[in-house]
């Protein structure tokens, strides 16, 4: 009987099945897999099924960083298999939890190994040295794997150095249901061959053979041909034998259901200001004058999927919490890279990161949140960054670059030395346009030039110091840019917050009425009442604590909403804004 244990490692592909930007269709015990190597070398083994409408991901497109489904263009990140973009809703950040099922991948003996629920290690063949091997061409056989393995014990072949001989002695060195190691000896020549039989389905297998010792050139071809002929003959014999027996029913792997939340149209995830992830500072370096770069790697497991524009909360050793944008390009999922500017008037956040935190330190961070989502349905996208405002826009520009979508990144800074992350910006080529040492007036003139020529389906993203953002938003409005095409992110809210009012807040869905006294925020009062509300910057800049207003007049004090959103009176940032009316009804 075929051993169906899901805990056993099996080969699923040969290394040569994963050439650059290819997606390989693998199968083990009836379950299909999409197997692909990202440009950073990582081998992804995923359920071969897009979570959206079940289309095989093995017909998807590997762009080196992400896998794109052919049907509706959903994009899934290298490593995490988290969905990073849903083109049908370009203005939304996809719910972070849309994540495809991933399986373990180990490269060994020139083969890629996997298992549904692996235990222990990939089979070890004594005498087979990693790197000094010749992988034979995989031979598919229509027969159960155990039957094939039993046949392989009687496989006769010549050692590499005595191919023309006829009398090699072949001995079985090790064997089990799926593995047979044989040594052929003739005269002074000896070759060790290991055969791993991949159980594709109940009645289908692939023989994956590996020989010890490297052979090059014509000799290599001769060895490959020798085994190809012999294994093909063996295949014919096994298939003839198997044809006599009734074919076992194909295996039917169970496809897991998606979570109940995903069965509905995902809403934004709800969570408070939690730092659930531990990361280690793998690298800290001067990313520019006055800007430190930090590479944060997970202590264990994988980091959650991020989208361009997303930020994380970093909980500092001194108790402060600060927000930093993730600068990574798509698919760069093994660590988060952030840039921290040393603020002259630092309240202890940036000073702590610059002076106290070192390589090797462990920090707590939140899951990435994206309140600054990037649309990818524009015919042209302009990014305008001032100083450290480059960080979210850098992630965005790399994403568009990866998809060959038209964009320009205008980067304002005092001088060359202040341009951060040159190793990343240089990959953008001509779309990067630095503007150095401009006075405020010159900056205004330059912004005017950049923002001239608005047309339909153009979008602009702004991030930088407050005054520059104000100027740019003004100019954009003057030049005919509608507010829906102007997207911005402030680092902080410099408005003086007036929290002297007192009013009532009714929560429509929770059937609760709360009183917000002077000196307390809506968010605080709700939290005290046990309502779980997400937040991040808690100063009205990041957009995380957004709530929908059903009734009443909000007193906006944030810098997140644009003018149209403010006027509509339907949205409120609960961490700073208050009510002008005596009562607000929120959709919570």
């Amino acid at each position: 009987m075929l051993d169906l244990a899901k805990t056993r490692w099996h080969p699923i592909a040969a290394g040569y099945d994963l050439p650059l930007r290819h997606v390989f269709h693998g199968q083990l015990l009836g379950r299909e897999f999409a197997v692909w190597r990202a440009d950073d070398g990582y081998v992804n083994i995923w359920e071969n099924r897009c979570l959206h409408r079940g289309v095989r991901l093995s017909i998807g497109i590997n762009d080196g960083r992400e896998l794109k489904c052919q049907y509706h263009g959903w994009r899934y990140s290298n490593r995490t298999a988290g969905c990073t973009y849903i083109p049908a809703h370009p203005a939304d950040a996809p719910a972070r939890t849309i994540t495809n099922r991933t399986f373990a991948a180990v490269e060994r003996y020139g083969l890629v190994w996997s298992a549904e629920e692996p235990q222990g290690e990939v089979p070890e063949i004594p005498g087979l040295a990693e790197g000094e091997l010749l992988a034979l061409r995989g031979i598919p056989v229509n027969a159960p794997a155990d039957v094939v393995a039993a046949r392989l014990k009687g496989y006769r072949f010549q050692p590499n150095a005595a191919l023309d001989g006829k009398d090699a002695k072949v001995a079985v060195e090790a064997s089990n249901d799926f593995t047979v190691a044989l040594r052929a000896v003739e005269g002074g020549a000896a070759t060790l061959a290991a055969f791993f039989v991949q159980p594709v389905d109940s009645n289908r297998s692939v023989i994956r053979g590996v020989l010890d010792g490297k052979v090059e050139g014509a000799a290599r071809l001769a060895v490959l041909r020798h085994h190809n002929e012999l294994l093909s003959a063996l295949r014919v014999a096994v298939e003839a034998e198997a044809a006599h027996k009734p074919a076992p029913a194909p295996l039917e792997p169970v496809i897991e259901r998606v979570s109940p939340e995903l069965a509905e149209m995902p809403e934004e995830t709800k969570h408070g200001r939690k730092a659930t992830i531990r990361v280690q500072v793998a690298r800290k370096w001067p990313a520019a004058d006055g800007i430190a770069g930090f590479e944060l790697r997970p202590i264990k497991g994988l980091l959650p999927t991020f989208q361009p524009g997303a930020h994380i909360d970093v909980h500092l050793p001194n108790g402060l919490i600060r927000q930093y944008s993730i600068t990574n390009g798509p698919g760069e999922s093994d660590s988060y890279v952030i840039g921290v500017k040393l603020e002259r008037d630092s309240k202890g956040g940036s000073t702590c990161l610059h002076e106290t935190v070192r390589e090797g330190d462990v920090l707590a961070i939140s899951e990435p949140r994206n309140n600054f989502p990037l649309r990818r349905d524009a015919v042209q996208t302009l990014f305008i960054a001032g100083g450290i405002g480059i960080t979210p826009l850098l992630a965005m520009a790399q994403a568009l670059k990866n998809q060959s979508l038209a964009h320009e990144l205008h980067y304002f800074a005092q001088n060359e030395a202040q341009l951060a992350f040159p190793e990343k910006t240089s990959t953008l080529g001509a779309s990067l346009k630095p503007h150095l040492g401009l006075s405020p007036d010159q900056t205004g003139a330059m912004l005017r030039e950049i923002l001239s020529g608005y047309g339909p389906d153009k979008h602009v993203y702004l991030c930088g110091p407050g005054p520059m953002l104000e100027a740019a938003r003004h100019i954009a409005a003057e030049m005919g840019w509608p507010e829906t095409a102007v997207h911005f992110e402030y680092f902080k809210n410099t408005n003086v917050i007036d929290d002297s009012t007192s009013f009532e807040v009714a929560l429509a869905r929770s059937c609760m009425t709360l009183t917000v006294p002077a000196g307390k925020t809506i968010l605080e009062v709700m939290r005290d009442a046990g309502i779980d509300m997400p937040s991040s910057c808690e100063q009205g800049a990041c957009g995380t604590c957004l709530a929908t207003v059903i009734e009443g007049e909000p007193d906006h004090q944030d810098v997140y909403l644009n003018d149209a959103e403010r006027k509509s009176g339907t949205k409120i940032m609960t961490c700073v804004s208050r009510a002008k009316s005596a009562r607000l009804v929120l959709d919570l």
């Binding site: 079940g54 017909i59 052919q70 049907y71 509706h72 049908a88 496809i255 069965a263 509905e264 349905d377």
Partner: protein, 288 residues
């Protein structure tokens, strides 16, 4: 042919289904096909007389001709063939769009027909083009006639029809008429106030296979029949390889089998509507 599961859904057994495009039938040779898992043979007796016979029992099957197709009903017909009012209008071409066999449940094919989100990716350069990928909110409702209607559907299309010269936003209305019948109405590029209609009759061959029979009622101005037909065949040829890579082939009715987004509102309702009608043929019933 392999053994296929038979259908026990009364709504399907007692309904009419297209089994052939009349232009594909020849007097010289009987035509083999399958309906709801039952192998059938179509014989042409003389020019006008067609006979449909079950291969298993040799029994004669109810059949009739309409809209250029041959229709069959394995049970006792409970209602008439879907009425297409536009087919009565004299200024339209009535074109059968070529029958396309697809190795997937017909219910998946219907869902694909209702789906705008795939235009830029599957019909690149024809019905959509990156980066214009947004599916704007639209309305879906169940009518008094028990049909599903999606209105106010809009999508950017580079070449929306055989006459279109440049891209523009096209308005659509979709209507699911029966479990295996769906229609699409789109604004005519010349007569903006009138609609071209494509009705898709899907033949449920068996649970995992279907034949899509499009029926086009296009206003004659500025188009020719061959052009319409070629356009339709091109579009279906683009969908076929994608549909044949959907896993599983049958349409899962369990809400947790796949991940819908707002753009799929009509598909979500379609699946629910099938559930309510107890249609199981070509579907994987919802787990309780």
């Amino acid at each position: 042919m392999s053994i296929a599961a038979l259908c026990s859904d009364r709504v399907l057994l007692n309904d009419w289904h297209v089994v052939a495009d009349l232009t594909n039938l020849s007097a010289a040779e009987p035509f083999q096909t399958r309906l709801l898992g039952v192998d059938i043979t179509i014989h042409c007796r003389g020019r006008y007389n067609k006979e449909v016979v079950r291969n298993d029992t040799g029994a004669l099957v109810n059949s009739t001709k309409r809209y250029g197709f041959l229709w069959a009903c394995l049970g006792t017909p409970e209602r008439d063939i879907v009425f297409v009012p536009e087919a009565e209008e004299g200024d339209r071409y009535l074109v059968t769009g070529g029958s396309i066999a697809v190795k997937v449940s017909g219910l998946r094919a219907v869902e694909n027909f209702l789906d705008m989100g795939h235009f830029p990716f599957v019909h690149t350069g024809w019905l959509g083009d990156e980066p214009h990928t947004e599916v704007a909110p639209y309305k879906v409702e169940l009518t008094a006639a028990d049909e599903l209607v999606a209105t106010e559907c809009k999508f950017y299309q580079p070449v929306a029809s055989p006459t279109a010269k440049e891209g523009f936003i096209v308005d659509y209305v979709y209507k699911v008429i029966r479990p295996y019948t769906v229609a699409l109405y789109k604004s005519n590029p010349v007569h903006k106030a009138r609609l071209d209609v494509i009705t898709l009759f899907v033949q449920p061959v068996d649970e995992d296979n279907c034949v899509a029979h499009p029926f086009l009622c296009y206003l004659k101005d500025g188009v020719d029949q061959a052009g319409i037909r070629n356009f339709m065949q091109l579009i279906f040829a683009q969908d076929k390889p994608i549909l044949e890579n959907q896993v599983p082939r049958r349409l899962p009715l369990d809400p947790r089998a796949e991940t819908p987004i707002r753009a799929d509102a009509v598909a979500v309702l379609y699946r629910r509507w099938l559930r309510d009608k107890s249609v199981t043929y070509g579907a994987i019933p919802a787990r309780m």
